[in-house]
């Protein structure tokens, strides 16, 4: 009897040892559900352990930077929407701020506060999609449904002022596209009043959940030095204890007037990134509330004839306004020669727009530094030595958008 066991045992054991030392190359993506877009990872595996990971990007490259060069400055706002499709308004804002700097435009307070409110709603929108899909990847299906439920409310708010759910192009050079519609502020108020309790609901499901903790705690570590060296920004850096947020360190669009804190953690793992983003949602809700309560009265666009489209009524009664309207629509406006690198804090991290003007009505060069581009670059360092299932969790915690990476 005993001899029959000793005969069968090696038969099972031999192929196991043979496979565990053999390296295997595995393509993850570009259609893998957890890559959120079209990213391909070339994984070199030893069993389930990743020995090297090589991201392959560019599947969503649309040549947006080239397209900028043949559009007038104001037309190009519509292109900025299409870069990071989860944070279109952050891109609108960053581009507008850069061009406004070149023009030396003064933006009225009401427009500035509305902009802050909108980009914070965008942050909520983006974080909700992140949380829903991140949890879905790890196996918590219901989170996705709850997050999409709240996201729908935000998209309806966006739809109310612009008629569009995602690519709103509502923030324009010089202010906003239109005055906000009647009843819009009340709608935001009713949403934002109920939002903190929704965040409680998410936390109830995840924060102390044993499976969630098991999948995220201690997973996805990458040292602060590596992150700074590789160009990682945003919540990933803040979850490692680096308190850097452009809203505080280099305030724009009157962020300095708002009272909020920048959450940081020191654990530097997937769980810490989750906690940072959840707290960011609460802070964003706080900012939106402050913007609603203290919303200044006044114009929604800068007082700059020749740059801003004149009011409809004036166009019908004043010759000068009619001429301005014709000239702005057919030729655009000229922007003084110069260059500006504008940085804002997008939901994913540091978003930078480098705008070069040669004095004509079309930008000479626009370069977009998307936060996802820098963040993705850390995948080889982050994934090396980890298990393949942990890569799904770490990639989710990066919160990248491929449109933002490939442009």
């Amino acid at each position: 009897m005993a001899s029959s066991f000793t005969l069968t045992e090696p038969e099972i054991a031999t192929p196991q040892t043979a496979t565990s030392t053999r390296r295997m190359t595995l393509n993850m993506g570009p259609q893998h559900p957890s890559t959120h877009g079209v990213l391909r990872l070339e994984l070199e595996l030893e069993g389930e352990v990743i020995r090297s990971a090589k991201p392959d990007i560019g599947y969503l490259h649309t040549g947006i930077e080239k397209e900028f060069e043949v559009k007038t400055y104001q037309q190009a706002v519509t292109l900025t929407d299409r870069i990071d499709y989860l944070a279109p308004l952050s891109n609108n804002l960053c581009y507008s701020l850069a061009v406004e700097k070149l023009l030396g435009l003064e933006i009225p307070p009401m427009a500035q506060w509305t902009r802050v409110m909108l980009v914070e709603l965008t942050r909520l929108n983006s974080h909700l999609v992140w949380l829903g899909t991140h949890a879905l990847d790890i196996g918590a299906m219901s989170m996705f449904l709850y997050c999409m439920r709240e996201r729908e409310d935000i998209l309806r708010i966006f739809e109310m002022y612009s008629g569009q759910r995602m690519m709103t192009s509502y923030i324009r050079i010089g202010g906003l596209a239109l005055a906000p519609p009647r009843g819009w502020h009340n709608r935001i108020k009713s949403f934002i009043d109920g939002f903190p309790s929704k965040v409680d609901e998410y936390e109830e499901l995840l924060t102390n959940n044993r499976i969630w903790i098991g999948r995220t705690k201690g997973v996805g570590f990458i040292s602060v030095e590596d992150m700074l060296d590789l160009g990682v920004t945003g919540p990933m850096l803040r979850a490692a204890g680096v308190n850097w947020d452009a809203r505080k360190q280099a305030p724009y669009s009157s962020y300095e007037k708002f009272d909020f804190t920048v959450p940081t953690r020191t654990e530097n793992d997937v769980y810490a990134r989750y906690l940072v983003r959840v707290e960011e949602m609460r802070q964003s809700a706080k900012i939106v509330k402050q913007a609603l309560d203290g919303m200044p009265e006044g114009a929604f666009q800068a007082d700059a004839p020749g740059l801003m489209l004149p009011e409809r009524e004036k166009m019908k009664t004043q010759m000068e306004s009619l001429i301005y309207h014709f000239k702005i629509v057919t030729e655009g406006f000229r922007v003084p020669e110069g260059e500006v690198y504008q940085v804002i804090e997008s939901p994913r991290g540091e978003l930078g727009y480098y705008v070069v003007s040669d004095g004509t009505a079309k930008p000479y060069r626009v370069h977009i530094h998307g936060p996802s581009f820098g963040n993705l670059q850390s995948i080889p360092t982050l994934a090396k030595g980890s298990m393949i299932s942990d890569v799904i969790a770490s990639m989710g915690s990066m919160d990248f958008v491929l449109g933002d990476t490939d442009r």
Binding site: I57, G58, H61, G63, E65, K66, E67, E69, V70, K101, L102, L228, D229, L230, G231, V242, W244, Q249, A250, G338, E339, V340, Y341, V343, E350, G352, Y354, V356, Y364, R365, H367, H369, F373, G374, Q377, D406, R407
Partner: protein
């Protein structure tokens, strides 16, 4: 070459010998650096000036001017909360410049992007290949002599 207002800027004092010209515009500081000094300047700014982050690296095509390409570096110091722009001009004939990947690893993808879209080569780059476009793509789309629509006849 260096305006009076910038004479006391710590970064100016650090790499003054390599600055061809400097300007302060729209609240941003720009240094013009000779292409053969770029790695040395970057290393000094990172290790002695505190510019630990390379925020962005890109290029501008000044066709038909010569030198044709401007390679633009945006440096960021978290410690001093300061940003700095470096610019190096390289010729349009076989454009090339030394890679700064040994200073900041972040430059790896940024330089590959410039190589892909502008056709500027980076010496000593660990894996200089196209990043956004397919490997067999012809031409470099962000060059000013590359058409926006249609194909070249």
């Amino acid at each position: 070459m260096i305006p009076e207002t910038l004479k006391d800027h710590p970064a100016v004092r650090l790499v003054e010998d390599s600055i061809l010209s400097a300007k302060f515009d729209h609240g941003e500081v720009t240094f013009e650096i000779a292409p053969d000094r770029i790695v040395d300047v970057c290393r000094r700014l990172k290790h002695e000036g505190g510019y630990i982050r390379l925020s962005d690296l890109t290029a501008v095509d000044r066709y038909p001017e010569e030198p044709r390409f401007e390679i633009v570096y945006h440096l960021h110091s978290l410690e001093h909360n300061q940003r700095l722009r470096l610019r190096s001009r390289v010729s349009g004939a076989q454009p090339a410049i030394a890679s700064v990947t040994e200073v900041w690893r972040a430059a790896n993808w940024y330089e590959r992007e410039v190589f892909d879209l502008f056709g500027v080569a980076f010496h000593n780059h660990p894996e200089l290949e196209r990043i956004l476009l397919p490997a067999d793509w012809e031409g470099h789309p962000l060059r000013k002599d590359y058409p926006v629509t249609g194909t070249r006849v």
